[in-house]
């Protein structure tokens, strides 16, 4: 089987809104390699989410091709499962019913599927919450339930669109460690979208930095640290920190353009900020990074 699971070639996407036509994705070419954790990072509102909807099949590209295992992507498919920013757990189903929804909806609620669902619920530590409704779970617990609901369908590609956004920082870091462990176990391919540089570096095998809207690939950086990863090691790990510095400067440049572009109001703020970056690059406070 070929190394890449999903290929994007010169994909572009235009939206018609009240005023006119807005381009969101501009001839974006990108490969998602099988078995790897690919992280896509870019300024907020740059079109990353549109990219995930294109890959998941919820939207069609205006031009360019999206291929999954050699076949064009025409619509949603159980091999490409999406986790959205806000939880999409069905509020009217208990945790157990949510996790079992995939197999049941496809008429595959076999005893093995039920058994797999049960073990996954235990694996994500929600055994005591099987009968509870989503409104009775905390943010972190809802995320874990959603992971279980996705994994029970053992998808070839799992797409996560900033799934930990909105969680408090501590739950977020614990969920990241958690996900790294799960990823190592499940041997699936993952496409993870985020705006958080630390989250990106902590999780990524391949880090893809996107430009400001209309978005396309700006830089690809490989992060060769084995999974499962622990937060404490990553903070210490020098190669990870090196990736962070390179990514940080590109991202700030892109973010400034999106920040500058959309908020004309803060023109003087942007200049002052750019001037200081220029000035302090030579003398970083404290000891210079390695």
């Amino acid at each position: 089987m070929s190394q890449t699971l999903v290929e994007l070639r010169q994909v572009s996407k235009f939206y018609r809104d009240g005023i006119g036509i807005k381009q969101v994705v501009r001839d974006c070419t990108l490969d998602i390699e099988r078995g790897k954790l690919t992280v896509v990072i870019g300024p907020s509102g740059c079109g990353k989410s549109t990219l995930t909807r294109l890959i998941a099949g919820f939207e069609r590209p205006t031009s360019g091709t999206l291929m999954s295992e050699g076949r064009p992507i025409t619509g949603p498919h159980k091999d490409r499962l999406v986790l959205f920013q806000e939880s999409a757990l069905f509020p009217w189903m208990t945790t157990e019913q949510n996790v079992l929804y995939g197999p049941a909806a496809r008429g595959e609620a076999t005893p093995q599927a039920m058994q797999l669902a049960g073990s996954l619920i235990d694996r994500v530590g929600l055994t005591a919450f099987r009968r509870k409704y989503p409104t009775q779970l905390s943010g972190g617990m809802q995320r874990r339930a959603e992971l279980a609901r996705a994994l029970v369908n053992n998808p070839k590609l799992m797409i996560l669109d900033e799934p930990f956004r909105g969680l408090d920082a501590m739950t977020k870091s614990l969920m990241q460690e958690y996900f790294s462990g799960l990823f190592q176990e499940m041997q699936a391919t993952v496409l993870f979208v985020t705006t958080d540089i630390d989250e990106a570096i902590f999780l990524a095998d391949r880090l893809i930095i996107m430009t400001n809207a209309p978005t396309r690939v700006r830089k690809v950086i490989n992060v060769d640290i084995p999974h499962p990863r622990k937060l404490a090691d990553i903070v210490e790990n020098d190669s990870a920190n090196d990736v962070k510095i390179r990514a940080l400067s590109i991202l700030h440049e892109e973010a400034m353009r999106s920040f500058g572009g959309s908020a004309k109001a803060s023109a003087d703020f942007v200049q002052a900020y750019a001037a200081r970056i220029g000035r302090t690059d030579s003398m970083t406070p404290g000891n210079p990074a390695p």
């Binding site: 408090d168 501590m170 705006t195 962070k244 940080l248 991202l251 404290g286």
Partner: protein
Amino acid sequence: MNTPCLSRPRGAIRIQDVVKVYDPHGAAVTAVDHCTLDIAPGEICMIVGPSGCGKTSLLNAIAGFHDITSGAIYLDDRLLCGPGRPQSEPGADRVVVFQNGALFPWKTVLDNITFGPLVQGRSTLREAREKARALMADAGLADVESSYPAQLSSGVRRRVEIVRALMNDPSVLLLDEPYRALDSLTKSMMHESLLQTYYRNKVTIFFITHDLEEAIFLGDKVVVMTSRPCRPKKIVTVDIPHPRDHNVLTSRRFRELMDETMSAVHEEAQAAFAAGEREG
């Protein structure tokens, strides 16, 4: 109008052995348990702890929204609340910036910012607008003056709210996880803008957050709280010099401070995580 930097240093907060017990439907819940903490004038004090551990109860007591069960809180050795006066009056010397924002949606940005001085009758409309426009220019908010809050991005709304607070020359700025809902890159922009505003008008900042990186990047002092009921577990002094910018994030000193506080914070988060602690 007194210019802030000339007056004698103010904004010292002394929290002495404060206890706060809530009594919803009779089940007494201790939110704050014998908390003692001193914050120097003009200091940025970061309060870090797992969600739902009672940090906000402390802020509510200082701001005068809630009472305290026992102990005392002083602002520049004036008793805010304590024995005989369990709850203090909210006032413009301690302005709160709320977690989900509290800009008045029905007022334009300018009317929001000039609300404080006008309502207190401290300055005329023209004076207030002049000062407001000056502060807005500094914070890079020059031309959003006549927009309504709903038309602004959450990042810009945040900066307007902080300018609205600073219009009253407060001694203390009380921030309750102001940047929680922002994405990481906008958040780092907000940090830079807050520091810039802080360098211009020295004011004590009492800042509640979950985000350790945010705490160390902004704070002069980081107070790690235990999970419910909350009390200071570890106080870390952040000796990174001001002015600071995003390069601090990758400096060695920053990482050392992260390690030092990481273990303390993780223990508490683990306890909260395992107990299935509900959000906030």
